[in-house]
């Protein structure tokens, strides 16, 4: 296929033979690794340096009022939100698979599940809803922390925690919007195998958001200070 024909079909091959949009998303993801490493570093450096509570893993008594602040992290809730985000990644790969295999005949004796696997709308909806569910868990967590006395200005833990998890939440929000736009295109004209790269780029971003959370969940929530 000539370069002009490729351009007519929406391909953007470089001299490497790779699509420049895919190279761009991987370069972007690489740069995002460094962004999140800096935020995680900041959190870890400040870990255990807060003068006043609430603290993440241990209770704290305010010497002036005598009020007891319990350990603030809610591991069961965060475990549930982690599960939701992991499942959203599964839904995302199934959405990409559905787009790539659109138009291919189903094998003889295919059941309802095999038909469901071919529905990109179903899996894009699932991914969006699970992503929104994760954001709902985060909104609940942030709200409960504020009610329990932990704000971004309260102590070093609050500053670094809200900054890191807030940045991650903003990335999830951007991902949900991106997936929502793909869903809108799917309803408007139907995503075709020729659109697989566009879905793949969104999927790579979405999975990156997931792997960042894998690191955050362990380093912030599970390892005590």
């Amino acid at each position: 296929m000539s370069a002009s024909a490729d351009a007519a079909h929406g391909h953007h091959y470089t001299t490497t033979g790779l699509d420049n949009r895919k190279i761009a998303i991987w370069a972007f993801i690489g740069s995002e690794c460094m962004l999140f490493a800096s935020l995680i570093s900041t959190y870890l450096i400040y870990k255990g340096k807060s003068i006043v509570g609430p603290f993440p893993h241990t209770p704290w008594t305010d010497p002036s009022s005598g009020k007891v602040f319990p350990a603030i992290l809610n591991i069961p809730v965060t475990s549930a939100s982690t599960f939701v985000l992991l499942m959203s990644s599964l839904a995302m790969v199934l959405a990409l698979s559905a787009v790539e295999n659109r138009g291919k005949p189903l094998p003889p004796g295919a059941g309802a599940w095999d038909k469901a696997l071919t529905s990109s709308k179903l899996w894009l909806w699932m991914t969006c809803l699970l992503g929104a569910g994760f954001l709902a868990f985060q909104a609940y967590e942030f709200t409960s922390f504020v009610h329990e006395g932990l704000t971004i200005r309260r102590n070093l833990f609050g500053s670094s925690f809200f900054t890191l998890t807030g940045f991650h939440g903003a990335h999830v929000t951007a991902g949900v919007i991106w997936l929502g736009s793909l869903l809108a295109i799917d309803y408007k004209r139907g995503l075709q195998p020729s659109d697989a790269l566009a879905v793949d780029l969104a999927a790579l971003y979405w999975h990156f958001v997931d792997v960042v959370w894998i690191a955050i969940f362990t380093l912030l929530y599970l390892i005590p200070g």
Binding site: D6, M34, A215, L219
Partner: protein
């Protein structure tokens, strides 16, 4: 030629593989949370390294299978692994610099 090369790198796992990947990720997460609630394990020296290893395994599984980097072109691998190494080394460097981690030399004067 170059386009053929790009298409040759386009294998993605199947639903059955994705299902197993999701199950493994779920089980590792269950183990991570389970050990968090066992005080004897939390107090042990293996707790933090164990959690870091489990987290690294989950990270690698998602990157290799869901992000299909295992099957993709080596340039993509370089674009991801290179900055990731820089990020990890920066993180470790900062932790050393701020005395959050240290190398203890035994037998020194």
């Amino acid at each position: 030629m170059s386009q053929d090369n790009a298409h040759a790198e386009h294998y993605h796992p199947t639903w059955k593989e994705y299902k197993w990947v999701a199950l493994i990720l779920f089980l590792i997460t269950v183990v991570e949370v389970w050990v968090y609630y066992i005080p004897e394990l939390v107090a042990s020296k293996a707790f933090v390294p164990g959690l870091l290893i489990m987290s690294a395994v989950k990270f690698a599984i998602v990157v290799m299978y869901y992000m299909h980097l295992k099957y993709d072109h080596k340039l993509f691998r370089s674009l991801f692994v290179g900055p990731l190494l820089v990020a990890i080394l920066t993180l470790l460097g900062l932790l050393f610099l701020f005395s959050k981690i240290a190398i203890r030399l035994s037998g020194g004067g």
